[in-house]
């Protein structure tokens, strides 16, 4: 295969970032011809302008252009391409020495700094997430699962000898320095291989999907300005905050704990589960994977990871996690030891299901809620919603205060087109845990299903507002999924000015319009 200067895909955020850099610089060569944007499974901080169309952009549209009101959030559009959107970040200095991870030695950053320091009125609020966005994109791993056939949302940059530090975590992961070309060669090679393998396949009419390899390790991206960083007993506090439903604070505290001790597998576990509750799937997956690297048989992490993979459509990963879970579940472990049965190759869903069913049969009189949860997840994977509902209901009979289970039940009902019942389940979950962002998101979706668009929008706005509110940390992250769903709900109301506001990410305007306090 001949490899030319093919232009990989443009990400709105990195493109905007670049156009910001380039607005004063002389034009760089021929305009980039690629214009498509692929949605990815990656956490990307998106900085694109409202309604930005990415691709070849006209200079002067600054992602950092500020609105008149310094209180309103910076406009961030296209969050559906990303999982995280950073808003209103307090800028310290271009290169804070104590910022563990982020270091850039690149002209574009300087260019960005220049623009940044152009001064403005009150607040001095800038988005340091520009730095992180570049790193996020450049270090982003991508799913090489041929089943999902994901491509990636990056851009080939001709930035000379740009060095980019990829943040993984301190200590345990080695910081990877990659040059522009080295990174792109790797991307290109992998992409071409993917293309070579995949381009002759049709999507329709395929037989059963081939078994997939466990997914690639994702990267976790830390907040850059974590006010809790030096906090002692950050983990304990983080756990408390999580239990109390203050998910934002919990995430920050847990991240702080990890920065202090990157080998703390429990912290990674709790962080992962908290991020899932916070409707931040990719971050959840990354954390849980990291936890499992440190402690391979952490059962809660395995179950949680299986759920996240199920939500992301990564069947292979979900089955693998559930297989690992069940083979370390005490009753099965004993049976396996006695029977001496060994599995060959990656487990398929059928195999894993059998193991779970067998395990349930071992104690037909008592309900093992975790086992039932696993069953529920497996049935969700095969869209057998009736059985999944039974499994989660059984689990709930044993743990009626478990808000996670209520949400799982609700989602199962919703995916099985029983939206009204789903709403009931979500309401129970939210009663038990008002800060449960994921459940509120799901509730909004069921409202859409039921045609209750206004209620849907209110729920999404509430969730987003909860995510954005935190006095201590000026760096707030809102879930891209929620923004995407919000936009769809708003677009169904035939109010173009509100659609525009949704497109623009204007949370305050929308909250006022819908009377959400």
């Amino acid at each position: 295969m001949q490899q030319q200067e093919s232009r990989p895909l443009l990400s709105p955020s990195i493109d905007d970032f670049l156009s910001e850099i380039r607005s004063d610089a002389p034009p760089r060569g021929p305009p980039i011809s690629n214009t498509a944007v692929l949605s990815t499974a990656l956490d990307l901080v998106d900085l694109s302008e409202p309604g930005a169309s990415g691709g070849v952009r006209t200079p002067g549209r600054s992602p950092l252009r500020r609105k008149a009101s310094s209180r309103s959030p910076r406009r961030c559009a296209d969050p559906e391409e990303t999982e995280l959107i950073q808003v209103e970040v307090q800028r310290t200095s271009p290169r804070t020495p104590e910022r563990i991870a982020l270091e850039q030695v690149s002209p574009p950053v300087e260019g960005w700094d220049e623009v940044n320091l152009d001064g403005d009125d009150g607040g001095g609020k800038r988005c340091t997430s520009v730095h992180s966005s570049r790193e996020l994109l450049w270090s982003a791993e991508f799913e090489t699962d041929p089943l999902t056939k994901n491509c990636f949302d990056v851009q080939r940059l001709d930035l000379g000898s740009t060095q980019v530090l990829i943040l993984q975590s301190t200590g345990t992961h080695t910081a990877e320095y990659r040059s522009d070309t080295e990174f792109w060669d790797r991307m290109q090679a992998e992409w071409e291989e993917l293309a070579r393998r995949n381009w002759l396949e049709e999507s329709e009419g395929q037989g059963p999907p081939p078994p997939t390899d466990p997914p690639v390790q994702r990267v976790y991206f830390f907040h850059t300005n974590n006010p809790y960083r030096g906090t002692p007993s950050a983990f304990t506090e983080g756990q408390e905050k999580a239990r109390g439903g203050d998910l934002n604070a919990a995430v920050l505290l847990l991240e702080a704990a990890i920065l202090q001790d990157p080998q703390d597998s429990e912290a990674w576990q709790v962080l992962g589960m908290t991020q899932a509750e916070n409707e931040n799937e990719q971050a959840a997956i990354a954390s849980l994977q990291r936890c499992l690297e440190l402690r391979p048989n952490n059962l809660p992490a395995l179950m949680s990871l299986a759920v996240s993979f199920t939500n992301s459509g990564v069947q292979g990963g979900a089955c693998d996690a559930l297989h690992r879970w069940i083979t370390h579940h005490p009753p099965i472990q004993a049976a396996a030891a006695a029977g001496g049965h060994a599995s060959q190759g990656p487990p398929c869903r059928q195999e894993v299901l059998l193991l779970f069913q067998d395990a349930a049969l071992m104690n037909p009189d008592s309900v093992d809620p975790d086992l039932q949860t696993g069953l529920g997840v497996l049935y969700n994977l095969s869209s057998d919603f009736k059985r999944a509902e039974q499994a989660f209901s059984a689990a709930l009979s044993s743990r009626p205060q478990d808000y996670l289970l209520w949400n799982r039940l609700g989602a199962t009902l919703a995916n099985g087109d029983r939206s009204e019942e789903a709403v009931e389940a979500y309401s129970r979950a939210l009663e038990l845990q008002p800060g449960f962002i994921r459940s509120r998101y799901n509730l909004g979706i069921s409202c859409i299903n039921l045609g209750a668009h206004r209620e849907a929008v209110s729920n999404f706005l509430l969730a987003l507002n909860q995510q954005r509110t935190d006095q201590r940390c000026s760096q707030q992250q809102m879930s891209a999924n929620i923004w995407a769903a919000l936009r769809i709900a708003v677009s169904m109301m035939d109010r173009p000015e509100l659609s525009q506001a949704a497109e623009a990410g204007d949370l305050d305007l929308l909250m006022r319009a819908f009377d959400v306090v």
Binding site: S6, P8, L9, S33, A36, V37, S39, L200, E281
Partner: protein, 391 residues
């Protein structure tokens, strides 16, 4: 006498039932009654004078549609793939170098075909949603010195319309033939074979032309013919041998036509009629209409909060629109739901765009604002019903 051991199949003892549905995928498109009726005409001999006349009409129609004066213009018996093979098997000899521009599935297929006949194949790759620059192309031409350069004008797997200007010249500069696949684009967007220096151009009957699949208009330039008729070896395929086909279609100027193969006469009727429809509307009007309807469609999509896969407007194929699969949905559920509930076919991604896009084709008679409204309503309904919830 032994009786037959394989019993008559029960399935053929029931009447044929075919549903009516809106074919808004990437093809085939709906066939309007006038063209269906034409195909219902009685079958006559594939070498009867009346058929030759119809074939001559078809030829003229294709010359108009392609905007070419090439006499080597006819319709291959088969579909777009047949034309692709016809083009490649005739122009390329074993051991020669072929360059394929790959920005979707079709370039990959052309490369595969060329490989099978023993050519040395190189590809230049652009990612899904993108296209190649002339600089890229020139570099590759210069490096590989191919005899043929393949490019898909309408890349229906990604929704990209590839710019063609200047490429013909580049190819000729490097002594290379320019082969263009316009199956998804012909009739829906400007394409001028002679003016753009295209040496071999082909399309399919079942897209903008709204004829049933079964014939593939194709044309070869002087330059292409020169290379073809000075081959060292015969083409591997007898069925696709240009010498034979040219004779059957009366392109070789010889007084008598020899029997080569049985032309699909019914398909000729419908192709002829579909070309007549195009002539009546006017080629430029057809181009214009497709562009306007696509614009209307894209606006509608964006107002629903959906994103178009191809960002650059001028690179969007008006006949096949690719939509970024919306976040929070399983694209397959959307297409299934729409088929079940609205009796309307739209497609998912193909090849490199699998899982990433939805594809909607509005071609020929299907390209209308009313149909756009229908598709938008169906999508809106699907968005309402198919959002995945998080376990």
């Amino acid at each position: 006498m032994t009786s037959v051991s394989v019993p008559p199949p029960k399935c053929l003892q029931k009447p044929l039932v075919v549903p009516h549905r809106h074919m808004f995928g990437p093809g085939p498109s709906n066939v309007p009654p006038r063209i269906l009726k034409a195909g219902a005409n009685p079958v006559i001999g594939h070498m009867h004078p009346e058929i030759f006349e119809i074939m001559s009409d078809i030829k003229s129609g294709i010359q108009y549609m392609f905007q070419t004066q090439n006499s080597m213009t006819f319709a291959v018996s088969g579909t777009g793939h047949t034309a692709m093979e016809c083009a490649i098997f005739n122009t390329v000899e074993s051991g020669e170098s072929v360059l394929s521009g790959v920005n979707g599935i079709w370039g990959e297929r052309a490369a595969e075909m060329a490989e099978r006949i023993g050519a040395t194949v190189n590809t230049i790759v652009a990612p899904p949603g993108g296209f190649l620059t002339n600089a890229d192309i020139e570099q590759a031409l210069s490096k590989h010195q191919p005899v043929v350069f393949f490019l898909a004008h309408g890349e229906s797997s990604t929704g990209v319309l590839h710019p063609l200007d200047g490429i013909g010249e580049l190819c000729h500069k490097y002594n290379c033939l320019f082969l263009v696949d316009s199956v998804a684009s012909m009739g829906g967007t400007p394409l001028r074979m002679d003016q753009q220096g295209i040496d071999i151009l082909y399309t399919g009957s079942q897209k903008v032309l709204n004829a049933p699949p079964g014939t593939a208009p194709i044309s070869f330039s002087e330059r292409a013919c020169q290379k073809i008729f000075s081959r060292r070896m015969k083409p591997v395929s007898f069925f696709l041998d240009l010498g034979w086909l040219a004779n059957y279609w009366g392109c070789d100027g010889k007084p008598s036509r020899l029997y080569h193969h049985t032309g699909p006469v019914t398909a000729f009727y419908s192709l002829r009629e579909s070309l007549a429809v195009l002539v009546e509307e006017g080629l430029e009007n057809s181009w214009d209409r497709h562009h306007r309807v696509a614009e209307y469609f894209h606006q509608g999509l964006e107002s629903m909060g959906l994103k178009l896969f191809v960002k650059e407007k001028k690179a969007r194929l008006p006949t096949v629109t690719t939509i970024v699969a919306p976040h929070g949905y399983d694209w397959k559920e959307i297409t299934t739901y729409i088929m079940k509930t609205h009796n309307l076919e739209i497609s998912g991604g193909l090849g490199p765009s699998v899982g990433l896009v939805l594809r909607v084709g509005l071609m020929g008679c299907n390209s209308s604002n009313d149909n756009v409204d229908m598709v938008l309503a169906a999508l809106k309904d699907a968005l309402k019903h198919c959002h995945k919830s998080k376990v």
